[in-house]
């Protein structure tokens, strides 16, 4: 089997940050893939499939995270996760959207 490694950087765009529900969405997406997924901020590197570890990153709005995937479907995994964090921002409002409400 070929070993694929993929990496990307994402910004947390929703106002409330990566709290419990977004962390749940993140690991739910991550767990759909076979590859190993690691997520890191400046200090820590955690398992992207563990809600405990993900939520303990306590990534607030504006935090930059590095997502690294390793395995056959690494590319798809990274794409799906980037879409969730940056495009859909966990179906939650960004700070500017929040103000409009």
């Amino acid at each position: 089997m070929e070993k694929v490694v993929c990496e990307t950087k994402v910004d947390i765009k929703n106002a409330d940050g990566l709290h419990m529900r977004p962390a749940m969405q993140f690991v739910d997406v991550a767990n759909r893939f076979e590859c190993d997924i690691t997520v890191s901020n400046d200090e820590n590197s955690v398992d992207g499939k563990s809600i405990m570890q993900m939520s303990m990153l306590a990534a607030t709005y504006g935090t930059k995270l590095k997502i690294r995937a390793e395995g056959a479907d690494a590319q798809q995994a990274v794409n799906a996760l980037r879409k969730l964090v940056e495009e859909e921002h966990f179906d939650e409002p960004t700070p500017s959207e929040q103000k409009k409400r």
């Binding site: 419990m20 962390a23 563990s50 405990m52 570890q53």
Partner: protein, 579 residues
């Protein structure tokens, strides 16, 4: 061997293996396991996760997605945590590496995670610590639930060791096998103390960190006479205590010999001695110890030892069983005194911030009429079987009394309509246990047949001291001049109104207060059954003149300390063995 000092609250000596009961609301003490046990603890952890998952899945499935599905989301998040392998591994690794119980590993791990969240400066994020605590509690409930079951299905003698005993836990005890109680928290009138005295087993409380120094199964000596607990005693100490316990039993036997003799002072004044009970099977003990009836039947225990509310027939059966023991001697049934530390708090969505000043006792009954009427119905039905009297607890004003009596009349009408027999002249009394009731006793006396002074609550409300809080429990004393003044007022008002007066609090079980109570004019006292012989012995050793002298002296004293030490000396002179 380790010796711990606490407060002796129930006399006697117990030597037994310890059984530790955890309360889910408190920090789980670190408890070590044998290297051979770790696999079992890991399995317990896995099972706890498995059961918590199925419980939560069930809960989640019945939540609908309305209101943005917020609650459903919360459950979903909690489920992800329970499914998280790295979380489970963290806990089982701790069990293995540190050789600790599953409870301890769950608690420490979850609390460490929660404290990480609490550190985050973003408020929204830091509040998530509450979710972690919730998951912790769910897991602990799984782990401790089976442990609690153990208390109900004991097969060998144990000494119960606990942080603090809750009424619900004690209601589940298999009394045959519990030989003693020791707790970290509590005072003379804490629940553990009352239960131990009523069961006639030794108890020591306020031991501070006992649960952390002891492991389940350790041999323990509970010395309820001197307030000492010895963990893992050596052979010599055990032998000493066996001898000591024999001597103590001899004293008890000597007192038992006076069982058949009447409770009369040396100058011929008859005092009526009644018993306080919580379970029907204690009625027999009251009789054995020479009690002449039941002065206080605490019926709330019907609610505490079963998962659902008792039916009218459950009530009736319990009352009928008790009345049957006494035939035509008085049985005073107190209507449910729930709330505060008992039952209702557990059922509340948000616990009251100040339960002792909250919806408890008669207040709770007056707001839960269905439940109140069910009990009154059963009491009235049992009233034809013997001399049953009704007593309302925690009355604070005339209006509450009127309301309670009106509801009683309603229930009587219901019985009339169904042609069910009951005693139409059933005697009605109230507990005097709040300063407001004591101060208005002359008014309240017009509408009832008897008063019963509940000295525990009266003392705590008068002195504004939580009797279960070891930080202030030294301030709690019935010998306080303020408390004694209120008690004296109530006694005088009862005499003026020519109604019966009883004293049924802990004060009535305490040898030191008997002369004082008699001197103030009390003729009926109701107390914990094991203390009946000793109290009778005191009554038979004094004259009313002695008692009056004690009262005169005490009325001139201004400090609790002075009064307490005077009473102790006076009692020691007449019954030296009691000390």
């Amino acid at each position: 061997m380790e010796i711990k000092k606490g407060i002796a609250v129930s006399p006697g000596i117990a030597i037994a293996k310890s059984l530790i009961i955890d309360s889910e609301d408190y920090r789980i003490p670190r408890r070590s396991i044998m290297p051979s046990q770790w696999m079992m603890e890991v399995q317990r952890t896995r099972n706890a996760f498995k059961n918590a998952i199925s419980e939560l899945t069930q809960l989640e499935s019945v939540q609908d997605a309305t209101e943005g599905g917020k609650i459903k989301d919360i459950f979903a998040v909690h489920l992800r945590f329970l499914h998280d392998r790295s979380l489970r591994k963290k806990i089982t690794d701790l069990v293995h590496s540190e050789l600790v119980t599953a409870e301890y590993a769950v608690s420490t791990t979850m609390r460490k995670i929660a404290s990480e969240f609490a550190k985050v400066e973003d408020a929204y994020m830091s509040e998530r610590a509450a979710d972690i605590y919730d998951i912790e509690r769910r897991l602990l409930r799984q782990l401790l639930g089976s442990r609690r079951e153990d208390v109900e299905h004991l097969t060998e003698e144990v000494a119960v060791v606990t942080r603090e005993l809750s009424p619900t836990q004690t209601a589940g005890f298999n009394k045959k096998f519990v030989k003693g109680i020791a707790s970290d928290a509590g005072g003379r009138t804490s629940h553990a103390a009352i239960v131990a005295r009523s069961l006639g087993i030794p108890a020591v409380v306020a031991l501070e960190d006992l649960t952390e120094t002891i492991s389940g199964g350790d041999t323990v000596i509970i010395d309820g006479n001197r307030g000492i607990v010895i963990v893992n005693p050596d052979r010599e100490t055990i032998n000493q205590y066996k001898e000591y316990s024999l001597e103590f039993a001899k004293l008890e036997h000597r007192l038992d010999a006076i069982r058949e003799k009447p409770a009369i002072t040396r100058d011929g004044v008859k005092i009526t001695l009644l018993g306080n009970i919580e379970f029907p099977d204690e009625a027999e003990m009251v009789l054995q110890k020479g009690g002449e009836g039941i002065g206080l039947y605490r019926t709330e225990f019907l609610y505490l030892n079963r998962p659902s509310e008792p039916t009218e027939d459950d009530h009736y059966q319990a009352y009928a069983e008790t009345v049957d023991v006494f035939k035509h001697r008085p049985v005073i049934i107190r209507t449910v005194d729930l709330g505060a530390d008992k039952y209702t708090q557990r059922k509340r969505f948000a616990p009251e911030p100040n339960p002792f000043l909250g919806l408890r006792s008669i207040r709770f009954c007056l707001q839960n009429l269905m439940m109140f009427k069910t009990q009154l119905h059963a009491i009235l039905r049992a009233s034809v079987l013997g001399e049953v009297k009704i007593m309302f607890p925690l009355i604070t004003n005339l209006q509450e009394l009127m309301q309670a009596k009106m509801i009683l009349r309603d229930v009587m009408e219901d019985l009339d309509e169904d042609s069910i027999a009951y005693n139409k002249n059933i005697r009605i009394g109230i507990m005097i246990e709040t300063p407001s009731a004591a101060l208005t006793a002359s008014t309240l006396a017009r509408d009832i047949d008897f008063f019963s002074i509940g000295t525990n609550d009266l003392t705590q409300y008068t002195l504004a001291v939580d009797r279960g809080n070891e930080l202030v429990s030294t301030l709690y004393s019935e010998a306080d001049p303020a408390v004694l003044r209120l008690i004296r007022t109530v006694i005088q008002d009862a005499h003026k109104a020519q109604i019966d007066l009883h004293v049924c609090g802990e004060m009535a079980s305490d040898p030191e207060y008997i002369m004082l109570l008699l001197g103030m004019g009390v003729k009926t006292i109701s107390l914990t059954p094991p203390m009946l012989p000793e109290i009778k012995q005191i009554i038979r050793s004094v004259t009313m003149e002695d008692c009056n002298k004690v009262v005169r002296k005490i009325l001139a004293m201004n400090s609790e300390r002075q009064i307490a030490s005077f009473l102790r000396d006076a009692t020691r002179k007449i019954l030296p063995e009691a000390f």
